[in-house]
Amino acid sequence: MTALLLRNGHLIDPAAGVDGPRDILLKDGKVAEIGPAGKLKPTNGTESLDATGLTVAPGLIDIHVHLREPGQGYKETIATGTAAAAAGGFTAVAAMPNTAPVNDSAEITRWMLAPERGAHVRVYPIAAATRGSKGESINDFAALKSAGAVAVTDDGHPILKDSVMRETLAAATRVGLSVIQHAEDTRMTQGASMNAGPTAFKLGLRGMPPEAESSLVERDIRLVTELRDARTHLHVAHTSTAAAMKAVRTARRNGLRVTCEVAPHHFLLTEEHVGFYNTNAKMNPPLRSAADRDAMIEGILDGIVDAIATDHAPHATHEKEVEFENAPNGITGLETALGLCLRWLHKEWKLPLGRVLSLLSAQPAALLGLKGRGTLAVGSFADVVVFDPKVEWIYRAKETRSKAHNTPFDGWTMQGKVRWTISEGRVAYASA
């Protein structure tokens, strides 16, 4: 295999404790050698990339994306979704199982991982916790794990029955898988299309109360507590409310293995950004109040949040060009996450660059146990993002690599431009 030398970049590898100028030699899909800047020389057949003035970091990892295959290729495919991932600096994405059919079998998990899917970066399937994500009978987690699944969830169809959730947590613990919950008590959100509150009232829309999220997080934490098994791992997907964040905070203080992720839209936007029925500001969980949004920022800054995950949820344009209450939930996020995190978390709210990058790589890798990812220590996968941290640029949805254009961040200023994304030693994306 070819070798690739990244010369003279500024390496930030939080997991390895590196923050300084380095040369990096990638060989056979792995990190082969790291040396002081200017010290490693390309040998015959080694391609060389000049990273002078650029930041070199472990490839970003998004543990919450919807790639829509199998079954919904008109929205996105594994190929187009991972192309968008590469453009956004991501080298690994964890794909949610709400496909058609639902990924509740080893067969579908393997289908997603087949080379014919044309993935540009590494895909980690997350399998359904229950048959058809119907919340009734639990899948064969051991078989799913050996087929390549890294966690189980009924994302979008939260497990409401205590008995089923308890059994899911116990069964996942036995095989060493994490349980991810989309926390929403759907009995409280029937017919609702945005956050409950004065804005929803004013717009004449039915609201999803914050308690629909927090009460299920509290229920899940109670079930984890009752299991009394230190290996049990509950991960709260796309946390959006102050009350849910508080529940996670308390669980952690009590020594439970409860983690959470926050999406960029939940730490940046509020229900006010729905404006007059902008369907690109409609997602589930919905944009919340300013107090909730501020709690997400605080959770990130004070370290209770374990990962930034985008909940990349592509939809066809025609599906979003409808009445607000009829539009599907979700927005894209893979191409805007880094630019928004650098612009807001780092530049505006002064979170150190290393911590921003850790939330986008080292921590999510650790959270799902993705071995050899999230760091550029010698022997790790050659998953690298190289970006210019100083460049400000405007995101244009029409230039996306995704099939979908449903983003509220069209026209927003981004900080930091990806120059190269390298997936297991191959250049998966290079900016023009």
Binding site: Q190, G191, G197, P198, F201, K202, L203, G204, L205, R206, P210, T241, A242, A243, M245, K246, R249, L268, L269, T270, E272, H273, G275, F276, Y277, R288, S289, A290, A291, D292, R293, D294, A295, I297, E298, G299, L301, D302, H318, E321, V322, E323, F324, E325, N326, W344, E348, W349, W412
Partner: protein
């Protein structure tokens, strides 16, 4: 507990991304919300309503002669549809009615495609009644035509608020057409009943306080959440109907919108005991108040037949005022706000 109380203490001043200003309305002839109208624009519409109402029909007929106006109705309607149609025709426009029950909407055509089709057929303005909140915004964004919101879901019904204002002014401030911030100072308007599902309530509570009126909302928690007062300034809640009536110069009764209850159950006998406007209640607590209702009224439910037909009722005046107001609104849609000279 509020979300703010649960949140970790904020350690620094956050300056999050601002909300971009609304691009609506795209077309200055549109009337999507009462909030699109300045008080000057409201005054102008009131003046034009009177002028057009008093004009020789054969002269009025030429104002929009052969202009094309489409009425796009996804919900049944008697008053709004007929008065918009009479208004447009009274100005000489050609109208066409498209309803969801006898059009390609039944075959699955989207609002966007129906709107674009009407535009291609030559429609110069679209009057839209729709069961989804925000539908008028979607239609305006996709067609860029003047869109007149004739009721969108639970959201707004701006021409109803304007005709209600005209009715209130005729009784409380006779002769006044140019409105200002204090025109309705000292006037309490109580809106009673199913506020949650009512677009009439929302448009009125957003418009009347801007003229100095105090809006009291009255109804059970099921139909009137506490956060309703956050919709705008000048809005408060009084759940005791009798107490509200005692303070009111105007009382607007609302129908329970059974079609929007979404599974909610309501005890009608208990509702009537608490919130039905009866002759006795009216005589005891508000013997001089105007009784209004946007229609359709359900006699014997939100109000008794005696009150509906009684001397304090201005329900049919509201209907009549609807034609005048909608003439002014349709004229504004097609003439543009800058061409008012020559028509006054």
């Amino acid at each position: 507990m509020t979300a703010a109380a649960i949140a970790a203490p904020v350690r620094r001043q956050l300056h999050p991304p601002p909300v971009a200003p609304s691009p609506f309305p795209y077309n200055k002839g549109s009337l999507l919300s009462v909030q699109d109208l300045t008080l000057d624009a409201v005054s102008h519409l009131l003046a034009r309503a009177s002028a057009l109402e008093n004009m020789d029909p054969l002269v009025r007929d030429r104002i929009l002669l052969k202009r094309r106006v489409a009425l796009l109705f996804y919900e049944s309607s008697t008053r709004t549809r007929t008065s918009f149609e009479l208004a447009a025709k009274g100005l000489g426009a050609d109208t066409t009615l498209i309803s969801n029950l006898s059009s390609s909407i039944e075959k699955g055509e989207t609002l966007k495609d129906t709107g674009l089709t009407l535009r291609a057929l030559g429609a110069e303005a679209i009057i839209l009644r729709h069961n989804s909140s925000g539908a008028a915004w979607l239609l305006e964004e996709t067609t860029r035509l003047p869109v007149l919101n004739a009721g969108d879901g639970m959201h707004e019904h701006p021409t109803q608020a304007l005709l209600d204002l005209r009715t209130v002014l005729a009784h409380m401030r006779p002769g006044i057409e140019a409105v200002a911030q204090d025109t309705l100072a000292g006037v309490t308007v109580t809106i009673v009943g199913d506020i949650l599902h009512s677009r009439v309530a929302r448009s009125n509570m957003l418009l009347l306080p801007r003229l100095g009126a105090r809006v009291l909302l009255c109804g059970p928690p099921q139909f009137l959440p506490e956060l309703a007062t956050g919709a705008g300034p000048g809005i408060s809640i009084e759940r005791d109907f009798d107490v509200a009536l005692q303070q009111s110069q105007v009382v607007m009764m609302l129908r329970i919108q059974a079609e929007r209850l979404a599974g909610q159950q309501i005890d009608l006998e208990q509702y009537k005991a608490s919130y039905q406007l009866t002759g006795q209640r009216l005589a005891s607590h508000a013997p001089a108040a105007l009784v209004m209702h946007p229609g359709p009224i359900i006699r014997g439910l939100e109000l008794t037949a005696g009150v509906a037909d009684g001397s304090q009722s201005v329900i049919l005046e509201q209907v009549t005022n609807g034609v005048a107001i909608r003439m002014a609104v349709v004229e504004r849609a097609l003439m543009g706000t800058s061409t008012k000279a020559g028509h006054a």
